[in-house]
Amino acid sequence: MTNAEIGVVLLSLRIAALVVVVSIVPGVLTGWLLARWRSPLRFVVQGVVMLPLVLPPIVTGYVLLEALGRQTWLGRAWHELTGTHLSYSTTACVVAAAVVGFPLLVESVRLAVLGVDERLEVVSRSLGRGRSSTFLRVTLPLALPGVLTGAVLAFARALGEYGATMVLAANVEGQTRQIPLAVAALLNKPGQDAAVTRLVVMSVALSFAALLGAAACSVWQRRRRGAR
């Protein structure tokens, strides 16, 4: 692997890891809300959350660009705060991948929370633990497989994200050119099949490592509680 390729892989890894870090808390909270909230309004929220899945990624990219570009209110606010531009930066890659992966995370958490026996939460409340303490001590640990799965899916999706990133972050070497963008660039050049293969293999290896890590984590949790 060339140095440039190593750079691309490391960038991809950094982006995917940041995506997980950034979206895990809102993702878990949203998934929990969607699982436990009885109001029909939840379908609206669910629909909005799912948008990035159903929109063609390029469209998601344009929507994000319209919202976060340098000309926009949000884009300017970001510039005020950080002194850098959001679009066309590594941050933009993270934002694009996080948005696209968000529905996967949320739906995983939602499903897992649905599988948690509500009566356990009731018992926790009656033992004097409030709503948030109950969430942290009962719901979240029991929904852990879903949280892990969601994190792995979001991670994997970030490793494979092309469309939205290409629009919001553009394909700039060293800054936004993660694996899929690099692959796209390589495919535009003749005779780069070997490099493409190397990058793709690295990407698969990373996501497989994430998968195994998550599996180890849930096995460890199960082991810790001595289950079958």
Binding site: L65, G69, Q71, Y88, M166, V167, A170, E173, A184, N188
Partner: protein, 223 residues
């Protein structure tokens, strides 16, 4: 670059990836993508210094929106060819006979609508009267590289690409060239978006740059 700390940024059409990177060398970085996507990004304030497109179309849009720092500049010319796999039975076919020579369920790859190469080819086929016969066989690809890959992989029987692309692959042969008079001229247009971009673009008229372009198969020199 345009307020950016680390060097120049050149936005180049996907079909120019290779040559753009060579042209820029170590002086900056290249962002590649569909001309349309690049143009929209520039319109949204992307930090590009130079925009290199395979057609005037989006260059005009960008310039029209007031983002230009100089005049559009034709860097090179290209031609369109029809290609097939090296072992194709179509080798030797004449331009007008393509539709008839194709086997019954044959497919012909073409760059998608809106993509410059796709627009030029459709223009040409319409002018020669072959479009109607070929239309049911046309398979739109995202860009000319997609066409090239489909032909080289044997997934389609023939395809239309730039001459430069055809030269870059040894798994395809050129069946014929499209008559340049049947479509708008294929011009690689550069547009500087910043003062630094103007300087960079100026160097691309110099001899070394022209050698790079020529080596890649582009037509350079004065029309």
């Amino acid at each position: 670059g345009s307020g950016d700390e680390d060097g120049l940024v050149v936005y180049a059409a996907a079909s120019l990836t290779d040559v753009a990177e060579k042209l820029v060398g170590g002086e900056g970085r290249v962002a590649v993508g569909a001309s349309s996507a690049l143009a929209r990004q520039i319109l949204e304030g992307a930090p590009a210094d130079v925009f290199v497109s395979a057609s005037n179309h989006w260059v005009d849009v960008v310039a029209g929106a007031g983002w230009a720092a100089g005049e559009p500049r034709v860097l090179a010319r290209n031609r369109l060819v029809c290609i097939a796999a090296t072992d194709s039975a179509l080798v030797g076919v004449l331009p007008g006979d393509l539709a008839a020579a194709l086997p019954p369920d044959a497919r012909v790859a073409i760059a998608d609508e809106g993509v410059p190469a796709g627009e030029y080819v459709r223009q040409s086929l319409a002018a020669t009267g072959d479009l109607a016969a070929l239309r049911p066989r046309l398979v739109g690809q995202a860009d000319v590289r997609g066409v090239l890959a489909a032909v080289a992989g044997g997934h389609v029987d023939a395809g239309f690409v730039y001459r430069t692309d055809a030269l870059a692959s040894d798994r395809v042969v050129v069946l014929f060239e499209l008559d340049p008079t049947t479509h708008a001229p294929v011009e690689i247009v550069g547009l500087a978006l910043t003062a630094e971009g103007v300087e960079l673009l100026a160097t691309w008229s110099a001899v070394p740059a022209r050698a790079i372009l020529r080596e890649a198969g582009f037509g350079v020199g004065h029309p």
